[in-house]
Amino acid sequence: MIGLEHFTILAALLFCIGLVGVLTRRNAIIVLIGIEIMLNAANLNFIAFWRYGENTEALSGPLFALFAIAVAAAEVAVGLALVIAVYRHYRSVDVDKLKSLKG
Protein backbone atom coordinates (compact mmCIF):
# COMPACT_ATOMS: atom_id res chain seq x y z
CA MET A 1 0.00 0.00 0.00
CA ILE A 2 1.26 3.42 -0.90
CA GLY A 3 1.40 5.70 2.09
CA LEU A 4 1.71 9.42 2.50
CA GLU A 5 5.48 9.12 2.98
CA HIS A 6 5.94 7.88 -0.56
CA PHE A 7 4.32 11.00 -1.95
CA THR A 8 6.19 13.38 0.34
CA ILE A 9 9.55 11.80 -0.44
CA LEU A 10 8.79 11.91 -4.16
CA ALA A 11 7.82 15.56 -3.84
CA ALA A 12 11.03 16.32 -1.92
CA LEU A 13 13.10 14.61 -4.63
CA LEU A 14 11.32 16.54 -7.38
CA PHE A 15 11.79 19.80 -5.47
CA CYS A 16 15.53 19.16 -5.22
CA ILE A 17 15.76 18.32 -8.92
CA GLY A 18 14.07 21.65 -9.65
CA LEU A 19 16.49 23.36 -7.27
CA VAL A 20 19.42 21.83 -9.16
CA GLY A 21 17.98 23.25 -12.37
CA VAL A 22 17.60 26.71 -10.87
CA LEU A 23 21.03 26.80 -9.26
CA THR A 24 23.26 25.12 -11.83
CA ARG A 25 22.02 26.12 -15.27
CA ARG A 26 22.85 29.32 -17.09
CA ASN A 27 19.93 29.47 -19.48
CA ALA A 28 17.06 31.58 -18.12
CA ILE A 29 14.46 29.30 -19.69
CA ILE A 30 15.89 26.27 -17.86
CA VAL A 31 15.78 28.30 -14.65
CA LEU A 32 12.06 28.89 -15.26
CA ILE A 33 11.60 25.17 -15.94
CA GLY A 34 13.24 24.41 -12.59
CA ILE A 35 10.86 26.81 -10.83
CA GLU A 36 7.91 25.08 -12.49
CA ILE A 37 9.15 21.69 -11.28
CA MET A 38 9.45 23.02 -7.72
CA LEU A 39 5.93 24.48 -7.81
CA ASN A 40 4.52 21.21 -9.10
CA ALA A 41 6.26 19.25 -6.34
CA ALA A 42 4.53 21.53 -3.82
CA ASN A 43 1.20 20.91 -5.57
CA LEU A 44 1.73 17.17 -5.27
CA ASN A 45 2.20 17.62 -1.53
CA PHE A 46 -1.03 19.62 -1.25
CA ILE A 47 -3.03 16.92 -3.01
CA ALA A 48 -1.39 14.06 -1.09
CA PHE A 49 -1.98 15.69 2.31
CA TRP A 50 -5.59 16.37 1.34
CA ARG A 51 -6.11 12.78 0.28
CA TYR A 52 -4.57 11.25 3.39
CA GLY A 53 -5.90 13.86 5.77
CA GLU A 54 -9.01 13.84 7.86
CA ASN A 55 -11.35 16.49 6.54
CA THR A 56 -11.56 15.67 2.84
CA GLU A 57 -14.90 17.49 2.45
CA ALA A 58 -13.29 20.87 3.02
CA LEU A 59 -11.18 20.46 -0.17
CA SER A 60 -8.43 22.76 1.12
CA GLY A 61 -5.67 20.83 -0.68
CA PRO A 62 -7.16 20.83 -4.18
CA LEU A 63 -8.21 24.46 -3.85
CA PHE A 64 -4.72 25.49 -2.79
CA ALA A 65 -3.31 23.50 -5.69
CA LEU A 66 -5.77 25.12 -8.07
CA PHE A 67 -4.79 28.63 -6.96
CA ALA A 68 -1.12 27.66 -7.11
CA ILE A 69 -1.60 26.50 -10.70
CA ALA A 70 -3.22 29.84 -11.59
CA VAL A 71 -0.41 31.82 -9.96
CA ALA A 72 2.21 29.61 -11.64
CA ALA A 73 0.60 30.18 -15.03
CA ALA A 74 0.75 33.95 -14.47
CA GLU A 75 4.34 33.63 -13.28
CA VAL A 76 5.47 31.66 -16.30
CA ALA A 77 3.79 34.11 -18.70
CA VAL A 78 5.49 37.12 -17.13
CA GLY A 79 8.78 35.22 -16.77
CA LEU A 80 8.91 34.25 -20.42
CA ALA A 81 8.00 37.81 -21.44
CA LEU A 82 10.93 39.00 -19.32
CA VAL A 83 13.20 36.41 -20.96
CA ILE A 84 12.19 37.70 -24.40
CA ALA A 85 12.75 41.31 -23.32
CA VAL A 86 16.18 40.41 -21.90
CA TYR A 87 17.05 38.56 -25.10
CA ARG A 88 16.07 41.57 -27.18
CA HIS A 89 18.36 43.76 -25.13
CA TYR A 90 21.38 41.50 -24.54
CA ARG A 91 21.03 39.07 -27.49
CA SER A 92 21.41 36.26 -24.95
CA VAL A 93 19.41 34.54 -22.22
CA ASP A 94 22.50 33.59 -20.24
CA VAL A 95 21.85 34.55 -16.63
CA ASP A 96 25.59 34.81 -15.94
CA LYS A 97 25.83 37.68 -18.42
CA LEU A 98 23.13 39.77 -16.80
CA LYS A 99 25.26 41.80 -14.45
CA SER A 100 24.49 45.42 -15.20
CA LEU A 101 23.45 45.91 -11.59
CA LYS A 102 26.73 44.48 -10.28
CA GLY A 103 28.69 47.14 -8.47
Binding site: I2, L4, V20, R26, V83, A85
Partner: protein, 172 residues
Protein backbone atom coordinates in the same frame (compact mmCIF):
# COMPACT_ATOMS: atom_id res chain seq x y z
CA UNK B 1 -2.12 1.31 -7.09
CA UNK B 2 1.40 0.39 -5.96
CA UNK B 3 2.71 -0.45 -9.43
CA UNK B 4 1.00 2.60 -10.94
CA UNK B 5 2.54 4.83 -8.27
CA UNK B 6 6.05 3.56 -8.94
CA UNK B 7 5.62 3.83 -12.71
CA UNK B 8 4.33 7.40 -12.51
CA UNK B 9 6.92 8.37 -9.90
CA UNK B 10 9.84 7.06 -11.98
CA UNK B 11 8.49 8.73 -15.13
CA UNK B 12 8.12 12.00 -13.22
CA UNK B 13 11.66 11.78 -11.84
CA UNK B 14 13.03 10.89 -15.28
CA UNK B 15 11.20 13.78 -16.92
CA UNK B 16 12.36 16.24 -14.27
CA UNK B 17 15.98 15.11 -14.55
CA UNK B 18 15.81 15.34 -18.35
CA UNK B 19 14.28 18.81 -18.10
CA UNK B 20 17.09 20.23 -16.00
CA UNK B 21 20.09 18.32 -17.38
CA UNK B 22 19.67 18.08 -21.17
CA UNK B 23 21.56 20.76 -23.07
CA UNK B 24 19.14 20.92 -25.99
CA UNK B 25 16.39 23.24 -24.81
CA UNK B 26 13.63 21.74 -26.94
CA UNK B 27 14.37 18.31 -25.51
CA UNK B 28 14.39 19.82 -22.04
CA UNK B 29 10.89 21.17 -22.61
CA UNK B 30 9.73 17.75 -23.80
CA UNK B 31 11.17 16.25 -20.61
CA UNK B 32 9.17 18.86 -18.70
CA UNK B 33 6.01 17.80 -20.58
CA UNK B 34 6.71 14.19 -19.60
CA UNK B 35 7.03 15.32 -15.98
CA UNK B 36 3.73 17.22 -16.13
CA UNK B 37 1.96 14.22 -17.66
CA UNK B 38 3.27 11.85 -14.99
CA UNK B 39 2.19 14.30 -12.31
CA UNK B 40 -1.31 14.35 -13.79
CA UNK B 41 -1.26 10.54 -13.49
CA UNK B 42 -0.28 10.86 -9.82
CA UNK B 43 -3.19 13.26 -9.27
CA UNK B 44 -5.48 10.63 -10.81
CA UNK B 45 -4.10 8.07 -8.35
CA UNK B 46 -4.95 10.49 -5.54
CA UNK B 47 -8.53 10.67 -6.86
CA UNK B 48 -8.32 14.32 -7.91
CA UNK B 49 -9.54 13.90 -11.49
CA UNK B 50 -10.40 17.55 -11.99
CA UNK B 51 -6.90 18.62 -11.01
CA UNK B 52 -5.40 16.03 -13.35
CA UNK B 53 -7.43 17.54 -16.18
CA UNK B 54 -6.39 21.05 -15.15
CA UNK B 55 -2.77 19.92 -14.98
CA UNK B 56 -2.90 18.60 -18.53
CA UNK B 57 -4.81 21.60 -19.88
CA UNK B 58 -2.75 24.31 -18.19
CA UNK B 59 0.72 22.76 -18.04
CA UNK B 60 1.01 20.33 -20.93
CA UNK B 61 -1.24 22.45 -23.12
CA UNK B 62 -0.36 26.04 -22.33
CA UNK B 63 2.89 26.30 -20.37
CA UNK B 64 4.77 23.80 -22.54
CA UNK B 65 3.73 25.51 -25.75
CA UNK B 66 4.59 28.90 -24.26
CA UNK B 67 8.08 27.61 -23.35
CA UNK B 68 8.57 26.23 -26.86
CA UNK B 69 7.56 29.61 -28.30
CA UNK B 70 10.00 31.40 -26.01
CA UNK B 71 12.81 29.05 -27.07
CA UNK B 72 12.05 29.53 -30.73
CA UNK B 73 11.94 33.30 -30.27
CA UNK B 74 15.26 33.42 -28.44
CA UNK B 75 17.45 30.54 -29.57
CA UNK B 76 16.83 30.47 -33.32
CA UNK B 77 14.59 27.38 -33.40
CA UNK B 78 17.05 24.58 -32.64
CA UNK B 79 17.68 25.67 -29.08
CA UNK B 80 21.09 24.10 -28.86
CA UNK B 81 22.93 25.37 -25.84
CA UNK B 82 26.33 24.26 -26.96
CA UNK B 83 28.53 25.73 -24.27
CA UNK B 84 27.37 23.03 -21.91
CA UNK B 85 24.91 25.26 -20.14
CA UNK B 86 26.42 24.89 -16.68
CA UNK B 87 26.59 28.03 -14.63
CA UNK B 88 29.72 29.37 -13.00
CA UNK B 89 29.72 27.91 -9.53
CA UNK B 90 27.27 25.29 -10.69
CA UNK B 91 29.04 22.70 -8.57
CA UNK B 92 28.14 24.63 -5.42
CA UNK B 93 24.55 24.88 -6.55
CA UNK B 94 24.43 21.13 -7.05
CA UNK B 95 25.95 20.58 -3.63
CA UNK B 96 23.46 23.00 -2.05
CA UNK B 97 20.52 21.16 -3.61
CA UNK B 98 21.79 17.78 -2.39
CA UNK B 99 22.39 19.25 1.07
CA UNK B 100 18.87 20.72 1.11
CA UNK B 101 17.48 17.27 0.45
CA UNK B 102 19.67 15.41 2.93
CA UNK B 103 19.78 17.87 5.80
CA UNK B 104 16.51 19.81 5.54
CA UNK B 105 13.77 17.86 3.77
CA UNK B 106 14.62 14.30 4.78
CA UNK B 107 14.96 14.96 8.55
CA UNK B 108 11.67 16.89 8.48
CA UNK B 109 9.97 13.96 6.78
CA UNK B 110 11.53 11.54 9.27
CA UNK B 111 10.30 13.48 12.25
CA UNK B 112 6.86 14.23 10.88
CA UNK B 113 5.26 10.93 12.00
CA UNK B 114 3.01 10.71 8.98
CA UNK B 115 0.72 8.05 10.33
CA UNK B 116 0.00 5.22 7.99
CA UNK B 117 -3.66 5.88 7.33
CA UNK B 118 -5.30 4.94 4.11
CA UNK B 119 -6.99 7.40 1.84
CA UNK B 120 -10.49 8.26 2.93
CA UNK B 121 -13.61 9.77 1.49
CA UNK B 122 -15.06 9.92 -1.94
CA UNK B 123 -13.18 11.34 -4.88
CA UNK B 124 -13.07 15.03 -5.62
CA UNK B 125 -16.24 16.00 -7.42
CA UNK B 126 -16.25 19.06 -9.60
CA UNK B 127 -19.62 20.14 -8.18
CA UNK B 128 -18.25 20.27 -4.63
CA UNK B 129 -15.14 22.08 -5.86
CA UNK B 130 -17.28 24.74 -7.54
CA UNK B 131 -19.38 25.20 -4.41
CA UNK B 132 -16.27 25.62 -2.28
CA UNK B 133 -14.89 28.14 -4.74
CA UNK B 134 -18.08 30.15 -4.42
CA UNK B 135 -18.62 29.91 -0.68
CA UNK B 136 -15.46 30.45 1.38
CA UNK B 137 -13.01 31.27 -1.41
CA UNK B 138 -14.95 33.75 -3.55
CA UNK B 139 -12.65 36.66 -2.70
CA UNK B 140 -9.57 34.54 -3.50
CA UNK B 141 -11.12 33.64 -6.83
CA UNK B 142 -11.65 37.31 -7.65
CA UNK B 143 -8.10 38.19 -6.64
CA UNK B 144 -6.82 35.34 -8.83
CA UNK B 145 -8.81 36.68 -11.77
CA UNK B 146 -7.33 40.13 -11.17
CA UNK B 147 -3.83 38.63 -10.94
CA UNK B 148 -4.28 36.78 -14.23
CA UNK B 149 -5.48 39.93 -15.97
CA UNK B 150 -2.56 41.93 -14.59
CA UNK B 151 -0.12 39.19 -15.63
CA UNK B 152 -1.59 39.10 -19.13
CA UNK B 153 -1.28 42.86 -19.55
CA UNK B 154 2.18 42.88 -17.97
CA UNK B 155 3.42 40.09 -20.21
CA UNK B 156 2.20 41.93 -23.30
CA UNK B 157 3.77 45.21 -22.21
CA UNK B 158 7.10 43.62 -21.27
CA UNK B 159 7.38 41.40 -24.33
CA UNK B 160 6.33 44.11 -26.76
CA UNK B 161 9.31 46.27 -25.96
CA UNK B 162 9.49 50.02 -26.23
CA UNK B 163 10.71 51.59 -29.43
CA UNK B 164 13.63 49.46 -30.58
CA UNK B 165 11.67 47.56 -33.19
CA UNK B 166 9.77 50.56 -34.49
CA UNK B 167 6.69 48.39 -34.82
CA UNK B 168 3.83 48.71 -32.42
CA UNK B 169 4.39 52.37 -31.72
CA UNK B 170 1.47 53.50 -33.81
CA UNK B 171 -0.81 51.06 -32.08
CA UNK B 172 -0.62 52.87 -28.80
Amino acid sequence: MTIAFYVFASVALLGAILAVQVTNLVRAVFGLLLFFGALAGLFLLLMAEFLAAVQILVYVGAVGILMLFAIMLTQRVTGDDRRGGGSRGGFWGFLLAIATFCFVLLPVLRDAHLHEQSATGASLTTKLLGERLMDPYALTLEVTALLLTAALLGAIVVAKGTSEDGEGEENE
